[in-house]
Every structure is written in structure tokens, then in C-alpha cells.
């Protein structure tokens, strides 16, 4: 599973992307966030307030109940501010 982080989510976690293999119990975005938070302080700080975290699966905006699989590309970031 490829996981990407942007903006201050990346700043807090310390890497822009990583390949991870969460256990099979992780089936959706929400489960993935919970699993990531257990990986260390940076993750905990990044996902402290999930109301200001947005997710994309395979480059499409999704909600936290969206299913994730081993071959997906998942990204976490704050609300976007283009333009």
C-alpha cells in the first residue's frame, strides 16, 4: 500500500510517502488512520484532529469509510487551498 502525505501532515510525520503493509483488519480509511496513529508520535500529531484531515484513494477525494486495499494509493492532507 502506497501512502502519501502533504502539507503539514507530511511535516508532522516527516516523510512524503512510504510503502506500508497494514494488517488485514485495516479495511477502510478510518481503520488505516487508527493503525497509523499507533506507529509513533509524528503520526499521532498529524492525525490528532481528523476533522481537518482529508483523504484520497487512487487520486480521488473519498470519505473515511472508503474501502482500502493492498494495491491502493492513499493520500492524507489538510483541506486543499488551490487557486
Amino acid at each position: 500500500m502506497k501512502i502519501l502525505y502533504f502539507s503539514w501532515v507530511r511535516d508532522r510525520i516527516g516523510v512524503g510517502s512510504e510503502e506500508l503493509n497494514p494488517p488485514e483488519s485495516v479495511t477502510n480509511v478510518e481503520g488505516l488512520v487508527d493503525w497509523l496513529k499507533a506507529r509513533g508520535e509524528g503520526y499521532q500529531k498529524a492525525f490528532d484532529d481528523v476533522t481537518i484531515i482529508r483523504a484520497a484513494v487512487n487520486q480521488e477525494h473519498v470519505k473515511f469509510n472508503h474501502i482500502v486495499g493492498q494495491n491502493d494509493e492513499i493520500a492524507f492532507f489538510p483541506p486543499v487551498t488551490g487557486g
Binding site: 502533504f6 502539507s7 511535516d11 493520500a75 492532507f77 489538510p78 486543499v80 487551498t81 488551490g82 487557486g83
Partner: protein
């Protein structure tokens, strides 16, 4: 047309391309966004735009396709820059050409409104106080929502 690029762009040339050689165009509406020097009370030295390569192009192409579906347009254009910019620099250009001015105006505003809430860009402003990620604005969500189609 969609372009995501680090380089600056020639505003006049880009907008001219929306009507050049097409005498069916009656009006062209264009909006360009620039880096302001003051933000939240402090003087900005630079603004660095980060984006999500791949997803950005996808998101912009979807917004453009939606505009072309909703209005009778001749051409549309979205150019969005990323990387380090300074006050006065151009960030973004959206434009639409049509036989009719209302379609050109509405489509142009739709492009920038949806781009702001859907395209994966983030802005880091640097001032004397250091770097600061810009928060998304509630007013951008309101602007986005005015283009939601009513469901039956």
C-alpha cells in the same frame, strides 16, 4: 485545456488562444490569481505551492469537463502553477470562451470556485515570522456550494 506547471505563463497569449481563429466566440471571460504581499496581517516574502502530481491533473480535468457539460462553451483553460512564488507572481489562470457572455462568466467563475476546493494544492507562506501553511477558507466552500446542482 489543463496545464500544471512551475513556469510562469503569458496571460495575453493564453487568453487570446481561446478565441483565435474561432469567429463563433462572442465573449471570453478570464480570471487570474496573484500572490498578495499581505496575508493575515503579516508581510509575505514568498508563497510555495505544493501539489499532488497526478491527482491535480485529474481533478482539474474533471472540473473542466463539468464546465463543458454545463455551459455552451467554445474553449476552456486552466493553468495552475506550483513551486516557490513571490508577491505579484501569477498563480492561476482560468478562462472560458463562448458565443454568449453569461456562459463565459458563469463557467469561468465555476472553474475557479471548484478548483479552490477540489484541486490538491497547499500554500506555505513565508514571512518574518517563519513558514505558515494557509488554512482553507469557509468562504471557498460556500463558493463551491453555489454550483451544486439541485437533486430531484
Amino acid at each position: 485545456m489543463i496545464r500544471v506547471q512551475r513556469e510562469d505563463f503569458d496571460y495575453g497569449k493564453e487568453v487570446a488562444a481561446l478565441s483565435d481563429g474561432n469567429t463563433g466566440v462572442g465573449g471570453v471571460c478570464a480570471f487570474s490569481g496573484l500572490v498578495r504581499e499581505m496575508a493575515a496581517g503579516s508581510e509575505i516574502k514568498s508563497m510555495t505551492l505544493e501539489h499532488y502530481p497526478g491527482m491535480t491533473e485529474k481533478a482539474l480535468a474533471e472540473i473542466e469537463a463539468e464546465a463543458l457539460r454545463r455551459w455552451p462553451l467554445e474553449k476552456t483553460l486552466i493553468i495552475h502553477r506550483y513551486g516557490r512564488l513571490e508577491p505579484g507572481d501569477q498563480i492561476v489562470l482560468v478562462a472560458a470562451s463562448s458565443a454568449h457572455r453569461d456562459a463565459a462568466f458563469d463557467a469561468c467563475r465555476f472553474l475557479i470556485d471548484w478548483l479552490k476546493t477540489k484541486a490538491p494544492f497547499w500554500k506555505l507562506e513565508e514571512s518574518d515570522q517563519g513558514g505558515q501553511w494557509v488554512d482553507a477558507k469557509d468562504s471557498d466552500n460556500t463558493a463551491h456550494d453555489r454550483w451544486l446542482e439541485k437533486k430531484d
